[in-house]
């Protein structure tokens, strides 16, 4: 499904400000894997997602999706396989377009877009049915502009837009972090449902330890551009946030001062 082979990503390479964000990082996901990614700020978690999505090009190494080397493909061409939900609820939708127009775009992700009407009567039925799974009543407001929705509603819509076409790999970039607790819980539940319904392969960055343990079948911890800990399915079932923190402290070789990890 997804194979990241010894990828190195540097920012400002060759200057005094050079910063290595990913250091010969390798990671493989098989079909149906749902990997949660934790780590302190600046560990390279978001960079990893951006390298997979094609927003950044890696200096070294390769990204393979479905056994195809996509390292040189620009972001919009990778959209055939990759979809993502961003931390910012505003980022994943187009505010001046209506709900149905946003869905028309997403339900055509990675396909050619011609001069046929984006929204037709038949398609509206498809949209309504898909929106009903969110249980937010959005199916009755197809013609509302997305900018009128709340952050939680927009994020739920983003999630639907990212998962409906069953991407080869779903990227979730702290997609519940900007929401209030009850909305975050809703999005977490919807994520779980969508991933299970479509048996998606997913990579989720989170700052929330409980969420990292609760969701997914594998967990990785990143630090300074490297994967420093991998927790497999069996161990993940029994581990606790305290365990992970202790592990992290041990790896860092110092007691943990980074409170952001605890959330």
């Amino acid at each position: 499904m997804l194979k990241i082979d010894s990828v190195t990503k540097k920012f400002f390479p060759g200057t005094n400000n050079e910063r290595v964000a990913l250091r010969r990082l390798s990671l493989s996901l098989v079909e149906g894997d749902f990997v949660t990614v934790i780590g302190s700020n600046g560990a390279g978690k978001s960079t990893l997602l951006n390298v997979i999505a094609g927003r950044y090009r890696a200096e070294e190494g390769a990204v393979l999706i479905d056994d195809l080397d996509v390292s040189q493909l620009p972001e919009h061409r990778r959209a055939r396989w990759v979809s993502r939900v961003f931390q910012d609820p505003m980022a994943g939708t187009s505010p001046h377009l209506t709900i149905e127009e946003n869905l028309a775009i997403a339900f055509h992700r990675g396909k050619s877009r011609g001069l046929r009407m984006a929204v037709t009567k038949d398609r509206r039925d498809v949209f309504r049915e898909a929106l009903a799974t969110l249980e937010l009543g959005l199916e009755d407001r197809l013609q509302l502009r997305v900018g009128m929705l709340s952050g939680g509603q927009r994020q739920a819509l983003s999630l639907l837009m990212a998962t409906y076409l069953e991407p080869s790999i779903l990227l979730l970039d702290e997609h519940t972090a900007a929401l209030d607790p009850s909305r975050a819980e809703l999005i977490t539940r919807l994520t779980k449902e969508a991933v299970e319904r479509h048996n998606l392969t997913a990579l989720m960055v989170t700052h929330n330890m409980h969420q990292a343990i609760e969701l997914g079948n594998r967990l990785i911890m990143m630090h300074e551009g490297e994967i420093v800990l991998e927790v497999d399915e069996e161990r993940k079932r029994t581990t606790t946030p305290e365990n992970l923190l202790a592990e992290f402290g041990r790896i860092k070789g110092a007691s943990l001062s980074d409170r952001t990890l605890l959330d």
Partner: protein
């Protein structure tokens, strides 16, 4: 006054072109000062060479499409700032337009143009021709409305609205911008072609400051009619164009110097851009927005 309405309806073609770049693509495109004249020049030169009027107009429109593509390539491939890319094309077109015309003014007197039937029927300057021109303008607006509702049209709107989202949904935003600029400048060149035939000449300076007139039309229309839906925004741009020409005519009737009209236009646009930021106006608009949201039934 009917003349002003006629002019406004002809310029409405340009106004929807400006709407397409300035509003839909969020790309303030200064190419149009040049591509407008290019459309007029190509059409005029072909008409006096006895090329059929329809072909001359099509060629004029395509010359504008080409100009838009150039600006788009400068921006997308050359990473040149949108304003600068437009200015560069516009300035280059000044020389090209002179080359096309061979001189700074090409008269179309006694030539048969698309306006000839209206003129011979004695309709020009009457409400009859205004009716014809309205139908023409609305037809062009309707085509643009149809396009913006297609799969590609929606992708283009998303590109201007949230470029990162568009790209992550597989839209080639660079191509979308080039297509948008090409269409917009095609419309503007068509407008130039129409105006040359209406006025009876193409002139090298006819496009100077056109972007201000275009922005004024879009902004006035939006301020008066709102811009919630696409069809509303297109109609607003066209109505704004007519209102703008009428206002200019009123200023002329009030014995203002015609040379001051560019100053008047600029002041008009500045007022339309600044007034919505005045706190009292802001509060009023927020109240209206809340009411709309409440009506839409959003919790």
């Amino acid at each position: 006054m009917i003349t002003a309405v006629e002019l406004g309806l002809l310029y409405a073609v340009m106004a929807v072109g400006v709407y397409l770049t300035y509003r839909v693509l969020d790309f303030p495109d200064l190419t149009i000062d040049g591509s407008y004249t290019t459309g007029a020049a190509v059409t005029a030169v072909l008409i006096i060479s006895d090329v059929p009027v329809a072909v001359a107009m099509l060629a004029g429109t395509l010359s504008g499409v080409l100009a838009g593509v150039v600006t788009g390539l400068l921006h997308v491939l050359g990473n040149i700032n949108p304003l600068l890319a437009g200015i560069l094309t516009q300035i280059a077109l000044y020389s090209i337009n002179l080359r096309i015309m061979g001189k700074s003014n090409v008269p179309l007197l006694r030539e048969s143009t698309i306006m000839t039937p209206l003129r011979e029927a004695g309709l020009l300057g009457t409400w009859g021709s205004a009716g014809f021109l309205t139908v023409g303008a609305v037809a062009i607006g309707a085509i643009l409305y149809w396009f913006l509702g297609t799969g590609y049209g929606v992708a283009l709107r998303a590109t201007g609205d949230n470029e990162l989202m568009a790209r992550s949904q597989g839209i080639n935003t660079g191509t979308a911008k080039i297509v948008g600029l090409a269409l917009s400048n095609g419309l503007v060149a068509l407008c130039g072609s129409l105006l040359a035939q209406y006025q009876g000449y193409a002139d090298i300076s006819m496009g100077i400051g056109l972007i201000v007139a275009g922005l004024a039309s879009v902004i006035i229309g939006q301020a008066l009619f709102g811009m919630t839906a696409v069809w509303q925004a297109i109609l607003a741009a066209m109505a704004g164009s007519v209102i703008y020409r009428v206002v200019i005519q009123l200023a002329l009737n009030a014995n203002l110097n015609p040379n001051d009209m560019k100053l008047v236009s600029a002041v008009l646009v500045v007022v339309a851009l600044v007034v919505p930021q005045v706190p009292a106006v802001k509060a009023m608009r927020a109240r209206m927005r809340r009411r709309r949201v409440a009506e839409a039934g959003v919790s």
